[in-house]
């Protein structure tokens, strides 16, 4: 499949391409797949072949450059994308008639502008935000409708998806007149703008006059549309004056910077991205509660949350005691303070302040707000739950229910537990084997179910409270109450736990502990057993060590060169001199050992280092051998240089090759530390059981090169000129043989026949031999002469005997 894909992309060459070609010639399924893939490629290539012309591209580039230039110069960035990102704002049914009226008036104004008499300068926009009379020169289109109404508008107006452009040619003329310098100049002087319609008018105009599908494409290929864009850029220099809801999309719809600005390709998750919107929607109350400080840095606030916020701003007349804009939070706070008939003076004061500043709170963003304590802060829902708010000093009659009741409850609990524990005889509990008292901790106090006799106490205390207090107290988490309790003394813990353990059958904890104990005992028994086994093994080893042989032979494979360190058991006590003597004796013993099966090097034709001829040389060589052999175990690296070719025996004095060394003990010399040989006689009685003798040998490797092979005639480079050898394999009855193996003997290339018994293979021209075999049929060898472009053959396989 990959090769087929690469073949379509023309990424194959040479033999790979040829093989795929042949495979396609032989395989029908792959041929179909190839055709389908190629057709899909071609279809998509044609469908996506549209490219804008140079003029359009130039327009886009200019727009981008304008934006970048304005941004670099600190000027307001002309907006082009907002028109492509329409903001969908909620439109209530009640506002529709008014919007339609505004639309009609706006339409009339716009057309009157377009057809009206020429005017030198556009008029200033009216203060009320209504469509103003903006006389324009003849042939000049009015400025596009912009949703730049002030934010005091109750209904957020949707930004028009496409500007209302009644007369495209006029707009084109206007766009041609607009230059970049004008844009910048207008951006610097926002007062010289063209008249603007208010947001509602813009919304209606966008809604009625230009549906998204019918509007002229903003960045389309149409040359008439581009000037409109230019005009849009001119008419939109003042972004800061636009309502926040309109301008936010451009800021907040900024794509995730960590994803988009990354130059690395980000893998796309399948479906996990959708839940991202869920938590943001859940965060709406946060935005609602603080409308004056919206979080503009929120990266992914889409139209949804903002629309929700807007809906909160709509005044709701059915909220009776609620100020205009902060209805939600205050409604939640009121029940905390109001139901108290004997409310403290401070609460009254809070209410008064609250009532006095209702009007101001409706428009909180005013910077000149009074410096008095902000009632909103006082009435924050968070501070409502603080105990200081409830436990006011002005309420002497009503003690704080929570703080007062909890110690009482605690004391009662402790007292009752103590009394019960004292009333029952302690020895009985001690004698119970099933109870495991120490396992109960203080944290488990609220968890165990109290006995029926002890149950009423906390309930009675809570029931004695007033209704409102009890509701307030029971709202709290019982664990919070218990957290506030003073810690019980240590001595009271077991007594509290005893009745629980006694009242019920062996608890689950007791069973668990017994199981744990059993497991511990079993583990201990196992440990003891393993320790005993280890000790016995060690004892056996120590006892049998006296009867162990000196050498333990372990046969190893030839190629396995196991290098184990030599272990020596050294007694303590001898002096260093004795140590040296014993080491020397050990070296002598080691040198006199008999070889096991010495492997001698076969005769080497290559010149090798000459063996010593003279007796002195022989002695030196033997001494070198011995030294080498003795040191082999101590310093193996030192043996390489000093090793002679053969190991002469002391008895014969001549090297014997290919014959295993006789068990006769060798006469060895040991090199003294000073370098002078020190002859030492090695008696046979000393080495009866030391069969190992190290015979240093030199192994030389020689590589003999044979004659260079006869050169084959050069074959053509590449396979473009190779002829195709195609054929058909049939059986004796003329039926095609599927899956027959056709092998080019000289090329070691094998193909198999298809359903029709056909095969096709390319190979250099010449006489080639084929070997055809199939299951149940005899093997046939055929010689074929390849020439030209294609050779066809037919091979019949006789049945097997």
């Amino acid at each position: 499949m990959q090769q087929l894909s690469a073949f379509i992309d023309s990424a194959l060459s040479g033999v790979s391409r040829e093989l795929v070609t042949r495979h396609l010639a032989a395989c029908g399924a792959c041929r179909d797949k190839h055709a389908a893939w190629k057709a899909a490629d071609e279809s998509l290539r044609q469908a996506l072949a549209w490219t804008p012309n140079e003029r359009t591209l130039e327009g886009w580039s200019s727009r981008v450059e304008m934006c970048i230039t304005a941004e670099r110069k600190g000027l307001p960035v002309p907006e082009f994308t907002p028109t492509l990102l329409p903001v969908i704002a909620p439109v209530t049914p009640t506002s529709l008639p008014r919007m339609r009226e505004l639309l009609e008036s706006a339409r009339g104004t716009m057309f009157s502008h377009a057809r009206g008499p020429a005017a030198a300068k556009p008029a200033e926009p009216s203060a009320a935000g209504t469509p103003s009379e903006a006389p324009r020169p003849a042939g000049q289109a009015p400025e596009p409708v912009r949703a730049s109404a002030p934010s005091e508008q109750s209904e957020p107006a949707p930004e028009p998806a496409h500007d209302a452009m009644p007369d495209p040619p006029v707009a084109a003329a206007e766009a041609e007149a607009a230059t970049e310098t004008e844009i910048i100049a207008e951006a610097e002087n926002p007062t010289a703008q063209a008249p603007e319609l208010d947001a509602e008018t813009a919304a209606i105009a966008a809604d009625d006059s230009a549906s998204p599908g019918e509007a002229a494409p903003l960045f389309g290929e149409d040359t008439q549309a581009e000037p409109e864009l230019e005009a849009a850029g001119v008419a939109e220099p003042d972004i800061e004056d636009r309502p926040e809801l309109v301008t936010e999309p451009e800021v907040e719809a900024e794509p995730e910077p960590d994803i988009e600005d990354r130059p690395e390709l980000v893998t796309e998750p399948e479906e996990e991205t959708e839940p991202e919107l869920e938590p943001r929607l859940q965060l709406e109350p946060v935005f609602v509660a603080e409308p004056e400080a919206p979080d503009e840095d929120e990266p992914e606030i889409v139209a949804g949350p903002r629309l929700q916020i807007e809906s909160v701003f709509v005044p709701e007349p059915e909220t009776p005691t609620v100020p205009v804009s902060f209805a939600g939070p205050r409604l939640q706070i009121e029940p905390v303070f109001v139901p108290e008939p004997e409310a403290p003076t401070e609460a009254v004061r809070v209410s008064d302040v609250y009532a006095e500043q209702q009007t101001e709170l409706a428009f909180v963003p005013e910077p000149d707000a009074p410096a008095e304590p902000d009632p909103v802060l006082v009435a924050e829902p968070d501070t409502r739950d603080e105990p200081e708010m409830v436990a006011e000093p002005e309420t002497p009659a009503e003690p704080e229910p929570v703080l007062v009741a909890e110690p009482e409850l605690q004391i009662e609990l402790a007292f009752v537990a103590e009394q019960e524990a004292l009333a029952e005889p302690v020895p009985e509990f001690v004698s119970e084997p099933e109870t495991h008292v120490p396992s109960v901790s203080r944290q488990e106090l609220p968890v165990p179910t109290p006995s029926p006799a002890r149950e009423p106490e906390p309930v009675a205390v809570s029931e004695s409270r007033p209704a409102n207090r009890s509701s307030h107290a029971t709202d709290r988490d019982p664990f919070l109450l218990l957290k506030d309790l003073k810690p019980l003394p240590e001595w009271s813990v077991p007594e509290l736990a005893m009745p629980v353990a006694e009242g019920a059958t062996p608890s689950r904890e007791g069973a668990h502990e017994s199981a744990v104990m059993d497991a511990k005992q079993a583990r201990r028994r196992r440990d003891i057993r393993s320790l005993l086994v280890a000790c016995s093994v060690l004892l056996i080893v120590v006892l049998t060590s006296a009867y162990m042989p000196e050498v333990i032979r372990i046969p190893l494979p030839e190629r396995w060169r196991l290098r184990l360190p030599r272990v020596e058991f050294v007694r303590r006590g001898p002096t260093p001199a004795e140590d040296a003597a014993s080491a020397r004796a050990a070296a002598l013993r080691l040198a006199a050992r008999q070889p096991v099966v010495p492997e001698l090097v076969p005769p080497d034709p290559s010149p090798a280092p000459v063996a010593p001829r003279t007796s002195q040389d022989s002695a030196a060589a033997s001494s070198a051998n011995v030294v080498t052999g003795a040191e082999a175990t101590l310093a193996p690296a030192a043996t390489a240089d000093a090793a002679p070719t053969v190991a002469p025996t002391a008895a014969s004095g001549t090297p014997e090759r290919g014959v295993p060394a006789t068990p006769t003990p060798a006469r060895t010399t040991l090199a003294s530390p000073t370098g002078s040989p020190a002859p030492v006689e090695a008696t046979p009685a000393l080495v009866p059981d030391s069969p190992a003798t190290i015979i240093p040998v030199r192994i030389t490797k020689s590589v003999r090169l044979s004659n260079p092979p006869a050169r084959k005639p050069p074959e053509p480079e590449g396979d473009e000129q190779w002829p195709l050898l195609c054929g058909e394999v049939i059986d004796s009855e003329g039926r095609p043989v599927e899956g027959a193996r056709v092998q080019l003997v000289s090329f070691s290339l094998t193909v198999r026949t298809d359903r029709r018994g056909r095969f096709c293979v390319a190979c250099p021209p010449g006489v080639r031999s084929l070997r055809v075999e199939a299951t149940g049929l005899r093997v046939v060898n055929r010689t074929v002469e390849l020439s030209g472009e294609m050779v066809e053959t037919r091979i019949a396989l006789p049945p097997a005997r």
């Binding site: 499949m1 279809s43 996506l48 490219t51 960045f219 794509p255």
Partner: protein, 179 residues
């Protein structure tokens, strides 16, 4: 469409110098960069969005984002692969924000602006069902006809991975067409 006479996408050319100048505030160098590759960028945007309007928006946003994040262009590297990756990430992000953009039904002939044959419509529908990365891969290979080595350099993949994924994309396309 890929112009064989044009220099490869991954060849730096004079890009590093332009990038260097642009990073130091030279607007002319920046505009030169943005203008030089606008056609290639458009092709990628169009293939990624399958919609003219969205492609224009993506084109616009990509160029603005490129101007803003010019400092992250790798030193000495070609500018176009970086730009293409930026566009691909932008398309992915847009689809994350608006899952409706993944809807294959949104890619019709009106969005493409051309009359499509039935076969083209089928192929386009299947193509719209692919993920953004697959679209980019296919667009670079089949539409732009870039060699695999360049595709690998742009998408930061090995050649074998490109071959493998392209084959899978084609198989998915055929499957989508058949469906």
């Amino acid at each position: 469409m890929h112009d064989p006479l044009r220099r490869p996408w991954t060849e730096p050319g004079r890009d590093p110098q332009h990038v260097y100048d642009a990073q130091r505030g030279d607007l002319a160098a920046l505009f030169t960069l943005l203008r030089e590759y606008r056609r290639e960028l458009w092709s990628v945007c169009f293939a990624l969005t399958l919609d003219r309007t969205r492609a224009e928006r993506l084109f616009h946003e990509t160029l603005l984002r490129a101007a803003k994040n010019l400092r992250s262009v790798p030193n000495g590297a070609a500018f176009l692969p970086w730009l293409v990756r930026l566009a691909a990430n932008g398309a992915t992000s847009s689809q994350r924000r608006d899952p409706a953009l993944k809807d294959p039904a949104s890619s019709d002939r009106t969005a493409l602006g051309t009359e499509l044959t039935a076969e083209q419509s089928r192929a386009l529908h299947a193509f719209a069902g692919l993920a953004g990365q697959d679209r980019l891969l296919f667009a670079l290979a089949a539409i732009e006809r870039l060699p695999y080595s360049e595709i690998g350099a742009i998408t930061r993949r090995e050649n074998n991975a490109v071959i493998h994924e392209l084959a899978q994309v084609r198989a998915r396309l055929a499957h989508g067409e058949a469906a």
